[in-house]
Assembly symmetry: D2
Homo-oligomer: 216 residues x 4
């Protein structure tokens, strides 16, 4: 049985929960197809310890697929991140109080890594199943991008990793109540969406060629 590693984060910025961990924990142990089983891991919302925890999980489980998830409060859709960039620039301190500004994630790494997911096929499949989804051109410069970049950097040298990337998800409805006017998505829809995402990853050999860019 091969492994799919899913990661979610601790709550941050005063939230009571984090949809990324809420959905990831619900998928623990699930089989996708008949050869892949999900392992769910919680990452602290901290620049330093998040990658330590991720590295340990990668080495322990040797997953074929790695999907890291994070909360993008205010976005309305499941957004598949296209690129991770080599910089930390924190507007608010992380959960350990660290606030790095304009420092690289890995000082020996390239400026960026593209996702190793079939980004367009994932968006297309989610939409076909009635779930709002889109491509995102930036994962920000906070712990989410840090983990995304760190994942891609570490996975370069792990030949068992065949697909890896990052997905941002909206607030849960109960979170959105505290943010008047903010979009949200119920947990069940996120969970259904994640299963579609994983199935698409496993079955896609070559990504689709459909527009998913932004003019700015």
């Amino acid at each position: 049985m091969k492994r799919i590693l899913l990661t979610g984060f601790d709550p941050f910025a005063g939230e009571q929960n984090n949809p990324s961990w809420e959905v990831v924990r619900k998928l623990e142990g699930l089989l996708i197809g008949d050869q892949h089983q999900i392992v769910s891991v919680l990452l602290p919302c901290e620049f330093h310890r998040s990658l330590q925890t991720l590295e340990a999980a990668l080495k322990k489980h040797r997953p074929a697929v790695v999907l890291a998830l994070g909360q993008a409060g205010g976005r309305a859709e499941i957004s598949i991140e296209r690129i991770a960039i080599n910089v930390d620039d924190a507007r608010i301190p992380d959960n350990a109080g660290a606030q790095p500004i304009d420092v690289p994630v890995f000082s020996d790494g390239p400026a960026a890594y593209f996702s190793r997911l079939p980004v367009k096929a994932i968006v297309h499949d989610l939409q076909q199943n009635g779930i709002p989804a889109g491509v995102s051109q930036t994962a920000g410069t906070y712990v989410c991008n840090h983990v995304f970049y760190g994942l891609m950097h570490m996975a370069e040298k792990m030949d068992y990793v065949q697909a890896a990337g990052f997905i941002h998800i909206p607030y849960l409805p109960e979170q959105a109540i505290a943010h008047p006017g903010a979009a949200s998505m119920p947990l069940d829809m996120m969970k259904t969406g994640l299963v579609h995402v994983l199935e698409t990853i496993l079955k896609t050999r070559k990504d689709m060629v459909i527009a998913g860019g932004a003019t700015h």
Copy 2:
């Protein structure tokens, strides 16, 4: 058995469906408490015929409660409208091709009617149940406001109507896919929300005093 009249609209503006009718049709016949039963009526998205249809339904069913629903594409929450204003000002033609500009809904009516719903108690109860909700200070100037104003004007003279008002609901997820970045709410959550709304209307004698305004 008393009646609750729910109304929803036909699709407009190129949409394939209208969440207001999708949710209202699903509630047809449902009992709320043990004395009230729902009657669901479809209104055309037309200035003229919408109120003709509504008037006929009011006279036929003599409802104790009337709740008109409409789609507010882009809003993220169930929004309880506070006030209906006496003007039609259409940016786009209605489904019959009419586009009134700055004409009153009823030339002998007052400038506005406040909702006769316990607006704050409804918002509070929805939020307590994990459903994003808020007060809206404007229902626009299109067919939704037209029906809201017409309802309040006609219900003035129908002493069997004890509560009446208008609620805007977001896009369905399948609609939002065609509007990148737009918020949405699944049909099940809307349906659950509507039942809460009706229960709150029936049990509330005096509205709650909690802030729900806007600075502008």
Copy 3:
């Protein structure tokens, strides 16, 4: 010489200045056409005292035209308010600490008053002059709407008032800096815009019939 009364507000909500007073003070004494002169009055951002101050100014100056201005932080254009509603519902306390919720501005007043400005002609003229402008369907439920409603209510009995209404203006650029991503408009453009507005009011006998509504 006839009088035009312009009012602006004190800063509120932690701002250092209020664009409404910044622009109104700059127009003090200006002649519009050859028969009208501007009188500028500062209103406190307080529910109670704002209307006391306004009433005193109306009685003292007996203006032919009254234009009250307020700040709408986040809006991008000069927005001409269509309607004032008879309710105070404050999300935040006013500058005197009062926070009325769901109480009428005047308990003996109607639900709403429409603006007595040529709203569409004003928007059209501003746009012709390259200044972003639009119709707004709600002035909120805070001190701005309170003053707008109070103005219309008091002016009903003052036969020297021939035109009266309310206009919301954006942040100044220096304010927007503290609100990342918020729109703004320079003071000079606001000032030029206000002169156009007053000229349009004086020369318009009958408002234009052009769409300016909202679907919701």
Copy 4:
């Protein structure tokens, strides 16, 4: 006398003008400090020809500083782009009808280039001068990012280029009129801002360490 190369684009997406060229053309020939003179060049809004034109201008003028500008319709501030990514993904065809999807700008280039401007010092200086400004984490995937990436890639091998980067600017007010609710900035403020930007580039040896990131 050293050269500063400024570039702006042709109008696109149905616009009558492009603020990037409107402001750049106004600065042609201006001296910044006593050693640098501005050369302004118009780029076609086309994937292929834009970089051909840029390359010719770089070789002809051998500029010490290169600043490419583009329009970001809907943004409210002067936004200094942090990073250019190696992908074209066009939602709409360019002015020559080309619509590349998921192809690299340079197939032999790295995934991304960071700006070679003192991004934080520029934002700080603009704000100090009352001009809304911010850091942007994405320049999109259209012709703007294409030119930004191409500029950084070509400038790598041109040792006379000491600073290079990309700046997005808002709609002009006259453009915003056709996009109700969209933010804008007057041409004069853009022009003043650009001069501040260039002065900051020339005088900054080491960028400031102030937060300018995004959580997502």
